[in-house]
C-alpha cells in the first residue's frame, strides 16, 4: 500500500516536473506565447531560472519513477 502510494506520488511529481520543464523551456524560446498563456505569470527571466533549476529534481524523480515502474524490481 505504502509502495503504491509512493509510486503514485512519484509519477504525479514527475508529470508536474516534466510539464514545468517543457513550459519553462518554451518560456525561454517563445516568451510572448508563454507569457500570454500564463497570464503574465511566467516571463522569460523566470522561465530561465526555473528551467535551469529543474534538472536535478527532474532526474531524481525520473530515477525513482523508473525504479517503481521497472518490472525487474517489482514484487
Amino acid at each position: 500500500m505504502v509502495r503504491f502510494t509512493c509510486r503514485k506520488l512519484v509519477a504525479r511529481t514527475l508529470l508536474v516536473l516534466t510539464l514545468l520543464f517543457v513550459i519553462s523551456g518554451f518560456g525561454i524560446t517563445e516568451p510572448w506565447l508563454v507569457r500570454s498563456l500564463t497570464f503574465g505569470l511566467l516571463d522569460k527571466a523566470l522561465s530561465q531560472q526555473i528551467h535551469f533549476l529543474l534538472w536535478g529534481p527532474f532526474l531524481i524523480v525520473l530515477v525513482l519513477h523508473l525504479y517503481y515502474s521497472c518490472g525487474v524490481f517489482r514484487r
Partner: protein
C-alpha cells in the same frame, strides 16, 4: 527476487546520490564561472555597417551624468493602475530583451546607425496598466531633461529603452543606464539617463527643447522647427 530488489535499491540510491552531488556542484558553481569581460563593440550587423559608439557628439543640456546602477530606480507613474519602481537589475532581468538597428538623426546634421539592445517601453506600460484617458508618455532624465511621445506611437512601434549599443553596455556619455530609442524621431526625442516615465493625458506637454521652439511631434520627415 529479494536480492534483485535490493540491488535495484542500491543502484537507485547511488544514482540519486550522484545526481544530487552533480546538482549541488552545479548550483554552487553558479556565479563562479569565468569572469565575463565587456564584449567588444560590433561594427557590422546582418550585413549592415554600424556607426561607432564614439561617433556621437556630446550635446546634453548639463553635460555628462554619472548614474550609479546600484542605487538607480526607474519610476513608471502618472495615469497607470500600478505605479512601478524598478532597479537596474530588475528591469534587465524582468523584461524580454530586444535588438534592432536604428539610426539617430540629430538636428545638428549628423547621424549614427547603431545596434540597440533593450527592453520595450510598451512592456513596462503594459505591466503598469495604462488608464484609458492617457495619450502621452513623458520621459524624464537624471539631468532634468524631458521629452514626450504619443502613447499610440509607443504602442504601435517597438520602442526600446536601451541598455546596450553595438553589443556594449551604454557608456555614461551615451545615457547609462537607459536611453530611449525613439526611432523616426529627431535626436532630441532620444532621452538619455532616463529615470522616470510618466503616462499623461497632456498631449501638449512640451519637453526641454520643445518648450524652446522645437516641434513636439519630432518626426524626422518633418522640420524640427515648430511651425505652429
Amino acid at each position: 527476487m529479494r536480492r534483485g530488489r535490493r540491488t535495484g535499491q542500491i543502484i537507485v540510491i547511488l544514482l540519486i546520490g550522484a545526481i544530487a552531488v552533480l546538482y549541488a556542484l552545479d548550483l554552487a558553481g553558479d556565479g563562479q564561472g569565468a569572469t565575463e569581460l565587456a564584449p567588444a563593440e560590433v561594427r557590422e550587423y546582418q550585413g549592415e555597417r554600424l556607426s561607432s559608439i564614439t561617433d556621437f557628439r556630446e550635446n546634453s543640456i548639463r553635460g555628462l551624468q554619472h548614474v550609479n546602477a546600484s542605487t538607480y530606480t526607474l519610476t513608471v507613474d502618472g495615469l497607470v493602475e500600478n505605479r512601478g519602481e524598478y532597479s537596474y537589475d530588475t528591469l534587465i532581468e524582468r523584461f524580454p530583451h530586444y535588438r534592432k538597428v536604428v539610426t539617430l538623426y540629430c538636428v545638428e546634421g549628423w547621424d549614427v546607425t547603431i545596434l540597440w539592445e533593450g527592453v520595450r517601453v510598451r512592456d513596462l506600460l503594459e505591466e503598469a496598466g495604462v488608464k484609458p484617458e492617457a495619450n502621452t508618455v513623458i520621459f524624464y532624465a537624471e539631468d532634468g531633461y524631458s521629452s514626450s511621445l504619443p502613447l499610440a506611437y509607443i504602442g504601435d512601434r517597438d520602442i526600446l529603452l536601451a541598455y546596450a549599443m553595438n553589443n556594449v553596455t551604454l557608456p555614461a556619455e551615451r545615457g547609462f543606464p537607459f536611453q530611449l530609442v525613439a526611432e523616426d524621431r529627431w535626436g532630441y526625442k532620444w532621452v538619455k539617463w532616463v529615470t522616470r516615465i510618466e503616462v499623461s493625458d497632456d498631449e501638449n506637454y512640451r519637453g526641454y527643447w520643445e518648450s524652446r521652439g522645437y516641434a513636439n511631434n519630432g518626426s524626422i520627415d518633418r522640420s524640427f522647427f515648430d511651425r505652429g
